[in-house]
Amino acid sequence: MVYLLKRAWSESPLNAVLVPMLLLVLLVTLAPLVQAADPVADPAVKGNGYQGAEYWRDVTRGVAGYSATPGNEAGVLINRSGDEWRLVRNQQVKPYGAWLLGGTLLVLVLVFMLLGRNKIKEGRSGRTLKRWDLVDRVLHWSVAGLFVLLALTGLSILYGRHFLLDALGGGFGGFMQFSKLVHNYLGPLFVICLALMLLKWLGRNIFNAVDLRWFARLGGLFGGHPSAGYMNGGEKMWYWVLFFGGVAICATGLVMDFPNFGQLRDTMQDANLIHAGVSLVLICGALAHAYMGSLGTEGVFEGMVSGEVDENWAKQHHNLWYDEAKGHKPPQ
């Protein structure tokens, strides 16, 4: 039945006239609408012509979209900076840091073997001078103790998987867990102690003309003893290295220590690289400082333990301070 009707319709002469007419009407009425909807004619329509390749290029550039999932950067499909961070950390910071540490230790061993211990030339006088207050010593040893703990745990985090994994075996996980906790919780304490120490010692560490002459003679490395006040040029330099390096590692450390302030991956990657790089330099500096402050120089370690130094040591290393402490007039 339906078939017959269809056939009748298609064979009707009316059909030949009606269908083209209807089509014409449709075209005329719809044409302006089609024109208006065509984005080619309206360049203001956003996303026009945004095609496959272009889209993927944007995604790999790290363009963010929308995600119903909450969380920092949930809308970012590709983390652009991750690769760069990994390469800098694994191929630059880690190997160069290891060379720097090894080189520093080697130089210190060589210095000790070639130059030996820097002795008090006139021997001990038996009379002592007060050099470091109790506050100074407490600050120094809190910073030093925390520094050693943070350096050991930090180095474990940077290099541990290469040697501690075999050395500790099953205990590795527990040790690293402990390392991270120590590093994260003692870090802020180190910030406070370091800040107090740097503030207390700021006044003594302003460079002056005496330090210039001290540096010009390389601190008396090759004979003679250039004049020095309470702190010599080298000690002041170490202070400022610790000052700027300390600010850098403390700031970057806090950025990583408290991830709950919404800082993004890029910030933490940069913080991590600065933190690791500067810390490695400071560890090398601290090794040299520790060597000079104990094994390398006679009569200096006791100053930071008891606060008292031998007068002859003071005369030899800090003659201007010695004169001042003894009430002598500076030589004109």
Partner: protein, 200 residues
């Protein structure tokens, strides 16, 4: 030997977030942790495209390269898994991951990160298969049951494919062949972008 892979067909994903829900349910992940998420680029505009993303189980995975405790391992099927007993929650894998896959439940004071959690391709972890410990730490182990990840299994449009790389690419290749009409048309482009249609 199989090489397990995910593939999300951007021409099919409709941002229903069914994969996210399936994952959460299958693995009983903690609050605030989403092993899988759907990202929509150009949301609400012409050329809106959605993609479901989770750990992509990279060959030579960046997370493995930066982990300070070396807690990652790759199974014979190419699935990247990690040991939560060793993980210290430092966040380095998150810095390195190209896809933002590693997730960290907040644990303890000062926003301290807990142990990292991420997509396991529904393959559990280093614990014994289907043990209590594995279930608690890593969630489902469907691979050990001979099943594929639940997110892909439950995908309403079959946009998300999971399985052996050869099978996944066979399915996808077949789709592309059938999908391409005039001069290899792309689905989204053809559907939503008259300009793109003209240029094809």
């Amino acid at each position: 030997m199989a090489r397990m892979k995910f593939l999300c067909d951007a021409e099919r994903c409709i941002e229903c977030n069914g994969c996210v829900t399936a994952c959460k349910n299958a693995n009983e992940v903690p609050w605030g942790v989403n092993r899988r998420r759907v990202v929509t680029i150009n949301d609400g505009e012409p050329n809106e495209i959605s993609l479901s993303v989770a750990c992509m189980h990279c060959t030579d995975a960046p997370c493995m390269a930066v982990c300070p405790v070396d807690c990652f391992y790759q199974t014979e099927d190419g699935i990247v898994l990690h040991n939560k007993d060793t993980c210290i929650g430092c966040g380095y894998c998150l810095y390195a991951c190209p896809f933002g896959a590693p997730q960290f439940p907040q644990d303890g004071a000062f926003g301290q990160r807990g142990k990292m959690d991420k997509c396991t391709f529904c393959a559990g972890g280093p614990e014994e298969d289907h043990s209590e410990a594995e279930r608690a730490k890593y969630g489902a182990n469907r691979i050990a049951e001979g099943k594929l990840p639940l997110c892909a299994e439950m995908c309403s449009t079959k946009a998300l494919l999971a399985g052996d790389a050869d099978d996944v690419s066979d399915i996808y290749r077949e789709r592309v062949i059938y999908r391409g009409s005039n001069s290899g048309a792309w689905g989204q482009n053809l559907a939503y972008n008259p300009a793109g249609r003209k240029s094809n």
